[in-house]
């Protein structure tokens, strides 16, 4: 047998040239790439513009008041004394209380869902936590302000009575030993506001933690169990070390959200402009509730001061979110999280 070559007509050869290969997109692709780039650029301009605008607006305030803007407690535009020391401390207090409450709850819930709950109801529990994150904050504010406040005040009174020597729990104006302690002295405090904020941010921290825990390599978990570890031993030696990045990152994301929460705080906290070391004492303020309360009657210069306060809040949140992102990305467990 022989191979028969096709009889190619060499004479009337069509001029075949290699298709030019280039990375440069042509035609519709060029339109697509440029269009997408334009959308990206416009979003960059919008979002970056907000940050830039806030920064620029804050400049006159910082020039006018200098560093005193950060150290002054009073906010009285009529006497030209404006400072955010008190609201800044108040913001940190509310966020601190919120995180003290939310962190153990979020960690325990995440561990329960990923390690203890029966596999059948796991998906339902995950949806429930996500649902909790979607409940509007004004509803948490209502719930805490009108239902939980008396109980929280009771707890504050008990704190004052038993551990009142700690400045955090002392209430200077209140008399805890009175037969009927005045609830008005113990309610409306950073502590109560912190409870509402903790209900808001807990599901967020929990979602991040759970996601990281669920990515623990099953082989390592099974290895720990096969070596005779109890469930808790397995969690302590495998799940928690693996999920450390997610725990820290989720907590910091929640902290960032807690710092910016407005409405739940504005509903509960009665405004006061002084640094209070006690979280259970009535009154306090946060940057966001300051803005919500004062934007209406603000003059131009005062508005600039409010924007400067907002800018400081934004910088703090940005710092915390960036740290959270770095922690989550650096850790071994963070490879798959967003």
């Amino acid at each position: 047998m022989s191979t028969i070559l096709p009889d190619l007509d060499r004479a009337g050869e069509v001029d075949v040239t290699a298709r030019p290969i280039s990375r440069r997109s042509t035609g519709a692709d060029a339109v697509f790439a440029h269009g997408a780039r334009a959308v990206g650029a416009s979003v960059l301009v919008i979002t970056g513009g907000v940050g830039l605008f806030l920064g620029l607006q804050a400049v006159p305030t910082f020039q006018r008041y200098g560093l005193a803007f950060l150290t002054e407690q009073q906010w009285s535009p009529d006497t030209d004394v404006i400072g955010i020391a008190a609201v800044l401390v108040g913001t940190l207090q509310v966020a601190f209380v919120a995180m003290v409450i939310a962190f153990p709850l979020a960690l325990a819930t995440a561990l329960f869902i990923s390690e203890y709950a029966p596999a059948r109801i796991r998906a339902t529990l995950v949806s429930l936590v996500d649902l909790m994150a979607a409940v509007p904050s004004v509803i948490y504010g209502l719930f805490v302000a009108l239902l939980l406040m008396p109980y929280a005040a009771d707890l504050s009174i008990w704190f004052d009575r038993t551990v009142g020597w700690i400045p955090l729990f002392a209430v200077p104006g209140g008399n805890a030993d009175a037969p009927l302690p005045a609830l008005s002295q113990y309610g409306f405090s950073s502590f109560v506001a912190g409870i509402a904020v903790s209900m808001m941010v807990m599901p967020m921290a929990c979602a991040v933690m759970r996601q990281v825990f669920s990515q623990t390599p099953p082989g390592e978990k099974e290895a720990a169990l096969a070596l005779g570890a109890s469930t808790w031993g397995m969690i302590r030696t495998v799940v928690l070390p693996f999920g450390r990045g997610g725990i820290i990152g989720g907590t910091m994301l929640a902290l960032g959200r807690a710092l910016g929460e407005t409405i739940a705080v504005a509903l509960i906290l009665s405004p006061a402009f002084e640094i209070k070391w006690s979280v259970t004492e009535k009154g306090g303020n946060t940057i966001s509730s300051l803005i919500a309360n004062r934007f209406g009657e603000a003059s131009d210069s005062q508005l600039s001061a409010l924007l400067a306060a907002g800018f400081v809040l934004f910088l703090i949140t940005l710092l915390i979110n960036t740290l959270a992102a770095i922690v989550v990305n650096r850790s071994r467990s963070g490879a798959e999280t967003d």
Binding site: G40, L105, L111, L142, S214
Partner: protein
């Protein structure tokens, strides 16, 4: 031991081989020891656990109601939890080791705290439902607005039609702005890429940190004060857009990044151009995820009060035109009602809160249904990922 390598391996094996004795099994004989059931609690264990908590119930009652002056349900529950854990520790220590005690106590604490969270969620929903169902019984609550209705008028007058409509219009405009921009940016960041895309991603991620009230203050300063526009529903939509845009862009980015690269390469290898690949392969693959990102963004935006508070103003009457004049919305209506301190207005606010909660619930269920992996009949369905 030294091994003599001079010998051939076969002879070594032959020297070592002997006879193999198979043990004889009697299949009908009972096992020597009862097999411990894995995963299920033994009666002993069950008794220890349930008994500890029963004991804690009694102890808590005696301590809080009889011995110590700590009346009230909250103290009882706290005492119950503490005593339950103590009793669990003690009963476990009676039979087990220190490791068992730690395991039981950790399990009890984690389950208990998770239960607290569950109770909190149920309590919030129940509380709002119980407090807010009264106004909802009158149909005019949905069909009427508050124009000409005093805050103390009974529930068969007035309603929240203006707030519901306002919320829907505002969130609708916000979605119309953020959806194309957000998904477009995500497409740019994942599909086009380059150094510029990295800058955009950094800025967008940074802006997710923007507190919502600051977004509202930005629109208030620029749109209302500097440009001289009235407070309007459109201004509120702009504020919501500034807040939602980074959230949606980032969520879509995450969704698009997990589209398998093999699908893209297959499409490109078949000769499709890049935009066809994006339009016909990447976006349809990511559609459930994109829908979830969008709806979660909406659920977040529709309940957000602070940007709306600064920008929209609260009207008492129904308005369909978002471009002029004040416009109410559900969160703002709730906030105003609670702030007014009037009992009837607070009840109306609860009614509005219930409506808002139901709205968010419905959106949420839709998101869950969309996010479910689609079942195909031609392929055996894989087990759904949790």
């Amino acid at each position: 031991m030294t091994i003599d390598f001079s010998q051939a391996p076969d002879t070594q094996v032959a020297a070592a081989s002997g006879r193999t004795f198979l043990p004889s099994y009697d299949d009908d004989a009972p096992p020597i020891a009862p097999r411990s059931s894995l995963g299920r609690m033994t009666p002993d264990e069950l008794f220890v656990r349930a008994g500890s908590w029963l004991a804690a119930l009694g102890l808590a009652w005696i301590t809080t109601q009889r011995l110590l002056p700590l009346p009230g349900v909250p103290w009882f529950l706290i005492a119950f939890f503490v005593f339950g854990i103590l009793a669990t520790a003690v009963t476990t220590a009676a039979t087990g080791t220190w490791i068992d005690v730690k395991d039981r106590v950790a399990g009890a604490v984690i389950t208990g705290l998770a239960l607290v969270v569950g109770i909190a969620l149920v309590a919030v929903v129940t509380y709002v439902a119980v407090k807010g169902f009264r106004p909802l019984l009158n149909l005019n609550f949905f069909l009427d607005d508050m124009s000409g209705v005093g805050p103390k008028d009974p529930f068969d007058e007035g309603g929240i039609r203006h707030a519901i409509l306002g919320s829907l219009i505002e969130i609708g405009i916000a979605v119309a702005i953020t959806l194309p921009l957000g998904v477009g940016t995500a497409v740019f960041m994942t599909e086009v890429g380059g150094r510029f895309a990295r800058i955009v991603r950094t800025i967008v991620e940074a802006m997710t940190a923007l507190p919502s009230i600051v977004a509202g203050l930005f629109i208030y300063t620029v749109w209302i004060l500097a440009l001289g526009n009235d407070r309007s529903g459109f201004a509120a939509s702009l504020a919501l857009s500034v807040m939602m845009l980074p959230i949606i862009a980032r969520a879509s980015d995450v969704v698009l990044r997990v589209v398998p690269g093999g699908l893209r390469e297959a499409s490109l290898a078949l000769g499709a151009s890049r935009w066809r690949t994006v339009w016909h392969v990447v976006l349809p693959t990511a559609r459930p995820g994109l829908a979830t990102a969008l709806i979660l963004g909406i659920a977040r935006g529709v309940g957000e009060t602070s940007p709306v508070l600064l920008t929209s103003g609260a009207a008492e009457f129904t308005k369909a035109n978002p471009f002029e004049g004040a416009m109410n919305s559900l969160p703002l209506f709730i906030f105003g009602g609670v702030r007014s301190g009037n009992d009837v207005a607070i009840q109306r606010a609860y009614g509005a809160a219930l409506v808002l909660l139901i709205l968010v619930l419905v959106l949420f269920v839709i998101a869950r249904l969309l996010a479910r992996p689609r079942r195909t009949t031609t392929r055996p369905s894989r087990k759904a990922r949790s």
